[in-house]
Subunit: 223 residues, 8 copies
Amino acid sequence: MPDSDPHVTFDRSRQTRIGLEEAVLAEPKTDAQIAAIVADAIAEGRRLLLTRLIEAQHAALARDLRERLDYCPLSRTAILGPLPRQNNQPAVALVSAGTSDAAVATETERVLSYSGLGATRITDVGVAGLWRLLRHEETLRRMQVVIVFAGMDAALPSVVAGLVPGLVIAVPTSVGYGVAAGGRAALDAALASCAPGVLVTNIDNGYGAACAALRFARVTGGG
Amino acid sequence: MPDSDPHVTFDRSRQTRIGLEEAVLAEPKTDAQIAAIVADAIAEGRRLLLTRLIEAQHAALARDLRERLDYCPLSRTAILGPLPRQNNQPAVALVSAGTSDAAVATETERVLSYSGLGATRITDVGVAGLWRLLRHEETLRRMQVVIVFAGMDAALPSVVAGLVPGLVIAVPTSVGYGVAAGGRAALDAALASCAPGVLVTNIDNGYGAACAALRFARVTGGG
Amino acid sequence: MPDSDPHVTFDRSRQTRIGLEEAVLAEPKTDAQIAAIVADAIAEGRRLLLTRLIEAQHAALARDLRERLDYCPLSRTAILGPLPRQNNQPAVALVSAGTSDAAVATETERVLSYSGLGATRITDVGVAGLWRLLRHEETLRRMQVVIVFAGMDAALPSVVAGLVPGLVIAVPTSVGYGVAAGGRAALDAALASCAPGVLVTNIDNGYGAACAALRFARVTGGG
Amino acid sequence: MPDSDPHVTFDRSRQTRIGLEEAVLAEPKTDAQIAAIVADAIAEGRRLLLTRLIEAQHAALARDLRERLDYCPLSRTAILGPLPRQNNQPAVALVSAGTSDAAVATETERVLSYSGLGATRITDVGVAGLWRLLRHEETLRRMQVVIVFAGMDAALPSVVAGLVPGLVIAVPTSVGYGVAAGGRAALDAALASCAPGVLVTNIDNGYGAACAALRFARVTGGG
Amino acid sequence: MPDSDPHVTFDRSRQTRIGLEEAVLAEPKTDAQIAAIVADAIAEGRRLLLTRLIEAQHAALARDLRERLDYCPLSRTAILGPLPRQNNQPAVALVSAGTSDAAVATETERVLSYSGLGATRITDVGVAGLWRLLRHEETLRRMQVVIVFAGMDAALPSVVAGLVPGLVIAVPTSVGYGVAAGGRAALDAALASCAPGVLVTNIDNGYGAACAALRFARVTGGG
Amino acid sequence: MPDSDPHVTFDRSRQTRIGLEEAVLAEPKTDAQIAAIVADAIAEGRRLLLTRLIEAQHAALARDLRERLDYCPLSRTAILGPLPRQNNQPAVALVSAGTSDAAVATETERVLSYSGLGATRITDVGVAGLWRLLRHEETLRRMQVVIVFAGMDAALPSVVAGLVPGLVIAVPTSVGYGVAAGGRAALDAALASCAPGVLVTNIDNGYGAACAALRFARVTGGG
Amino acid sequence: MPDSDPHVTFDRSRQTRIGLEEAVLAEPKTDAQIAAIVADAIAEGRRLLLTRLIEAQHAALARDLRERLDYCPLSRTAILGPLPRQNNQPAVALVSAGTSDAAVATETERVLSYSGLGATRITDVGVAGLWRLLRHEETLRRMQVVIVFAGMDAALPSVVAGLVPGLVIAVPTSVGYGVAAGGRAALDAALASCAPGVLVTNIDNGYGAACAALRFARVTGGG
Amino acid sequence: MPDSDPHVTFDRSRQTRIGLEEAVLAEPKTDAQIAAIVADAIAEGRRLLLTRLIEAQHAALARDLRERLDYCPLSRTAILGPLPRQNNQPAVALVSAGTSDAAVATETERVLSYSGLGATRITDVGVAGLWRLLRHEETLRRMQVVIVFAGMDAALPSVVAGLVPGLVIAVPTSVGYGVAAGGRAALDAALASCAPGVLVTNIDNGYGAACAALRFARVTGGG
C-alpha cells in the first residue's frame, strides 16, 4: 500500500530487527488496497508475499498486476519477484493428516520458499491408518523441526511428538464439521497433547508456523 | 431409598424391559438418602450398585451398612451382594491412556463385573509412546468391543479405531488442566475422530460405556 | 484421487485391516480433486462412495462422470458401481425425529446399502407426539442396533433407549435455530442422556453411525 | 436487612405493584446481613421468605433467630411466620425427572405455599422409564400450569408438552456431570424443545417458576 | 407433504390432544417439500401455517400455490385459508424494543391471528428511552400476558416485569453485532432477569411464544 | 422512517435528555425501511446519520436519495446534511493497530465529525513493531481521550494505557481468523488488560466509542 | 514486596507517567509475599493499597502488620497510611443494582478515596423496581461520571445511560446463578447495551472503574 | 510407581527415543500412588521429576520420602537426585509479566535445570510499564529461545516477538479474574498474536515449554 495512503504505516524495519519480512494479509483488505500494495511493490522493485488472497481477490486484480504474481489457489498465497536460492538448513518437515490439511501445509511451504528455506513434505498420514505415518519414521527422526498440520481430532501431533526428538509445531486446521467446524476441537487437542513439548499456532496459521521455523533458522545459523 | 420416600419412584421394570438394572448415582444425593437406599436393599435382599460414591459419602455410612459394601475408592463404585459368574462373551477390552484415566476404566470394569461380563484391561498406552499400544495390537484385533478411556487430547480412540475391526467406544475423561480441564477437549476430539465409526459417551461416563457393552452382549446372546 | 497427486496417500489397506472401505469426504475438496478421484476409480474399475457431495459439486462434474454416479441430493451421497446383495443381519433400525433429520438418516441408509446391510426406516416420530413412536415399540424392541437421528432438544434417543434392549446410537443433527443452531444443544442432550448406554456420534455424522453398525455386523458375523 | 444499612433499599411497593412479595436471595449475603434481615422482619412482625439459604448460613444464625425459621435443607428455603390458607386455583403440577431434580421442585412448592397456592407433586418420572410418566397422563391433562424440573438431557419438558394442553414451564437443573454439569445442556435442550410453547426459566430457578405461576394465578383470579 | 412421502408422518392428532395445530417450519425444507405440503393442504381443503418461509422459498413456489398464500415477508410467515373470528380473551400485549425486534413480534401476532387471538402491539420502546415505555404503563398493567421482544442487552423484559402483574414472556432476538450477534447475550440476560417470574423462549421463537399464549387461552377458557 | 410506520417510535427527545442524537443502525433494516427513513429526514429538513449501511444497501437506494448522502464505504457510514463547525475540545486521539482496524476507527471519526468534534488519527501502530507507536508517545500523552482500535490479540490498548494519563477506550475489532475471528479474543484481552482503567466497548462498536467521547465533551464543556 | 525478591520489579514510575499509583492485587499472592509487601511499605513510609485481599489472607498477617491496615472485608480492600483530603471534582456517582453488587461498588469507592476523590453512592436501585431509580434521576443527571454496578441481566447501565448525559461506566458483577454465574451474562448485556456510549470494565473490576474515573479527573483538572 | 501396579506402564524408552525423560504429573494421583512412585525411584537409584505436586500432596508423603525431595512450593515441582552440570547452550530467557506468572516460569526453570540447561530470568516486565521490558531489549535480542509467561491480556508475547529474532514461546497463565479467569483470554490472545511466529503452549504449561526448549537444545547440539 503506498505511503500516501493514510491507513497504512509499512513496517520496513522489521526485516532488520527480527529477521522476518512483513507479509500482507490480503483477506480483510479491499480490492483497491491490494492493487495499490502490489503496484507499489512493483514500482519500487521490491519482492512481496501475500497470504490469504482468495481467488476472487486475485481475479479482481488488473491483468498486468495479476500476471506478475505467482499465485497458488490451494494455499491462497501470491509471490511477487524471484525466490532466493533454497537451502535445507535447518531440516524441516511438513506433515499433514488429510487432503484438506495439505492446503495449509502448502501455505507454510510457500512462505518458507519465499525466504529460501526448503522443506520435506509428507502428506495424508492421518493416524486412522497409522502404517502410513510409520513408513516415514526414520525420515522424521532426522528432522530438526517437524510442523504437523491436522484438523478434526488433531491426534497426529501427539503421535509424531512421541516418535521424534525435534521441535514439533502443531498447526490445527479448520477442516471438519460438527464439533470440528472452525478448528477449535483440533486446537484444543493440540494444546492438550499428551506428548511433551508440542507447540501450537492459531488455527490455519501456516504463515505463523513458517515464521517460527525461520526464527529457528536465523538463530541457529541456517535459513 | 424406601418406597415411602416421596422423592423416589424406583424403576423396577427396567431390568425386564431393557435388560439393564438401575444403578444409583450417589454423588448428588444426601448421606441420609444413600443410607436409606442401602438399608432398603439389604432389607429386601436385593443386590445394589452405586456409582460416583465419593469417599466422604462412603465414610458417612453407618458401619453396619458400610461393611456390607464392596467399595472401590479409585472408581468410586460400591457393590452390595454377590457377583454373578463372569463370562467373556462378547470379548471386551478396556484400554486406557494414562494413569488417571484408569479410574474411569475401573468403573466400567466393576459395572461389567456386577452383570457378569469379564473384560481385558490394557493400561497406560497413551499415543505419546506408541510402542506401548502396538505391543497389544493382536489382542485388540480379536475383540468385539474395545472401550478406550482417554483425557487431554484423546488421540487414543482414533489410533485404536484405525487398528481394529471391533466396535470402538471412546470415553473421554476430565483428566488434565488448561484447555483439557473438565474433559471438553477430549470429548470434542473423540467426536471429531478421523477414524470411522468411533462412538462416544459423556465425559467420565464409565457406567454408560459398560451399559452399552451390556446392550451389545444382550442382543448378541452373550453377557 | 490419482496416485500421482502429491496431496493424497490412499489408504487401500483399510478394508483389510478394519473391514471398512474408505469413503471420500467431498465437501472440503475442489471440483478438480473430486473429478480426479471419480475418474481414477472408473479407470481402475473400483467402486466408490462419496459423502457430503453438495449439489454444486455434483453439478460441476463432467457429464460422463456425473452419469456414472448414483447421486442422492437429500443425503448428499454418491455411489459409483453396483450395490452388493443386501442382508438384514444384524437387525438395524434408523429412527428419525423430524423431516429434516431424515436427510442424515438417509446418509446412513445409503452407506449401509453400499456395504450390503439393509435397515428399517422409522420416520417423523419426535417425542412431541409420543403416540407416533409408541406405535413402533414392538418393532424397535426386536432390533440389535437402533440409530436415532434428532436435532433441537434430541429427546428422542433417551426415550428410545428406555424402551429397547439393543445398542442405541444417537446422531445429533444441526437442525434448528437459536440455541439449536449447529447442533451443539442436540449433541449435549444426547451425551447427557438420562437413559443408560446411549452412544453418540459427531453432529450430522450419518456416515460414522453407519460405520459403527458395520463394525457391529463384522464382529458378530453379519453385514 | 435494617433500613439503616446503607447497602439495602427494600422494595416494599413490589407487592402492591406486581402482586409478588420480595424474597431474600441468601447465598451471596454475609451471615451478618442475613441475621439483620431476619431480626428486622421479626421486630416489624413481617413474614419473610429466604431462598438459597445454604446449611452453613442457616447454622450460623443465632439460636433464637434460627428457631423462628421453618427451614428446609433440601430446597434451601426458610420461611418466617405463618402460611396463608392454601387453595388450588389455578391447578398446578410440579413434575420432576430424577431424585436430584426434586430439590428444585421443592423450592417451587415452598414458594407457592408461602403465597397460599397448593400444587400436585409428581416425582421421578424421567423419560428413560416412560411408563412412570404415562401413569399420570390423565392427571397432567387436567392441569392449568405444569412445571417440569429436569437436568441432564431435559427431555421431560418436551414429552410432557406433547401430552398436555396447559401452560408448560421447564426448569432446567444443574444435576449431572460432564456436559451436563452446571445445567447448560439441560437449559439448551429445554429452549430447543421440539414441543410447541414450552417456556423456560434460568437453571435451578425454582423461585422464578413459582413467581410465574403466581402471576398466572393473579391475572386469572386464583392464587 | 403428502402421506405418500416416506419422510413425513403428519401429526394430525395434535390439535385434539394439546389444542395446538401443527405449523410447518419451512426454512430447512426443500422447495419441492414445501410445494408438496401446500398442494396437499389445498387438495384436502385444510388451513395451513408456515413459519420461517424465507423470501427465496416463497418465490420458488409455483404461481398458483403462491397466490393462495397470505405471505408476510417481514415475519416470514404464510397462511393458507381464512382466519377465524378474532377475540381478545385473554388480553395479550406484544411489546418490542427496536425496529428489528418487530419482525419477530409480527410472527407472534400472525400465529395468534391464525388461531383467532387478537393482541395489542407496542413498538420501539427500548429502555434507552424509558419515557417511551412508561407512556404505556397503564395499558400494560391491564394485560394478562405480556410478550416482550428484545435483542442486544434484552433489558426490556426485566423493566416490564417490574411494572406489571401479568405473565411475562421474553423472546430474545438475534438482533445486534459483536457479543449480541446470534442472540445469546439477549437470551442469557432474559434468563438472568432480576425481575421475578420472567419466562423465556428460544432466540427468535415468536412461534413458541404464541403457542404459550394459546395454551394460556385454552386452559383459562379464552382464545 | 415515517411516523406512520407502525414499527418505529422515533426517539426525538434523546438529544434533549442525554445530548446525543439518535443514529440509524442500517444493517438489520430492509431497503424499503432505509429509503423511508432517508426520505423522511429530507422532507423534514433534518440531518441524519446512518451506521453499518452496507454497500448493497447504499446501492439499493434510489438515485436522488443516494446522491444526497455523503457515504463512506470503508466505515459504512452515511451522513445527510451539513457538518457542524469542528472543534478539538476535548483532545481526542484515534489509534488503530492494523490496516483493517482503521475501518472501525473511521466510523468513530465520522460520528465525531457529525457532532462537530475533531480527532487526531494515528494509524498502523500495532505492538509487533513497537517503534511505530513510540514515535507518537508525546502526542498521545497530551490527549484527554485516547480511543484504541485493535483486533487479534488487542495488545495495543494495554501498551497505550501504560503510556498516557488520559481516558483510554478500547474498541476490539473482529479482524482476524481462527481464535481471532469475530473479535471475542480481542474483546477478552481488552477487558483483561493489565493496564489500569482501560474501558471497553462491544466488538467493532466505533459508534459507541464516539458517543462516549461526546459524553465526555458534553460534561466537560467541550464538543 | 522487597526489591530483594527476585520475583518482583516494582513500577515506581507509574505515578509519574500515568498519574495512577500501583495497587497490589493480593488474591493470587502467597501470605509471605503479602507480608513482605506490607512490611516493606511500612519500612519505607509509603502508603499502600491492596485489592482482593480475602479474609483468610488478612487474618494470616502478623498482628503488627494487620493493625496498621484499614481493612474492609466487604470490598476486600486494605489501605495503609492516611487518606488525602477528599474533593468532589469531577462529580462521580456509584450506582448499584442489588445488595451483592454493593461489594464491588465499595471497592471502587475505597480506591477513589485512597486518591482523594469523593463519590455519591446510590444503592439497591435495580430495574425490577424502577421507581427506586427514578427517585434519583435529577441527582444522576448532574454527574460527570456515573459508574453502574450490576450482575445478572445488567439492565441497569442501559436504563441509566438513557437518562443521563454523563460518561457511563458499567461494571458487570459475578452475582447470580445458572447463566448468571461468573458474570458473563452481565458482561455481555452491558457490552450489547442498547443505550449509546456505555463503556465496560472486566467483571467485578471495581478497581479498574475507579482508575478510569481518576484518569477523567486528571485530564480535566480534578481528582 | 512400581511395575507391579496394574495401573501404570512406565515409558522407559522415552529418553532414548525423543531425548526427554518422563516427568510425573502428580496432581491427579492419589497420595499412595505418589508415595509408591517416589519409593520405587529411590529403590532403583533413579532420578525423578514431579510436576504439579500440590503442597498437601507433598505434606502427605512419609518423612523419609519427603526429605529426599527438593520441593519448590511456588512452582509445585519436586526433584529427586542430583542435578546435572548446567550449561547455557542454547541461550534461553524466561520472561514473565507479573508476580503471579513467575510461578509458572519457575516450573520451566526447574524442569530445564533438571536436564542441565540454564536460563536467564527476567521478571515483572508487563507491558503496562513498557520501560521495564525495554531495559532488557539487548539481552533479549541475544537469546535463541525466549519463553514468555503472561496471563490476563497476554500482550507481552506480542511485544517481545516484535523485538527479538529468536524463537518465541508463549505460556499463557491462569492468573486473573472475570474474563481472565482460567487463562482462556490469555491463551486466545497469544494464539492471535499480531507478531509473526509466536508459538503457544497449553495454559500454565511451564513443563511443556521446557520440553520444547530441550527439543531445541537436542537437535542443535546444546542442552
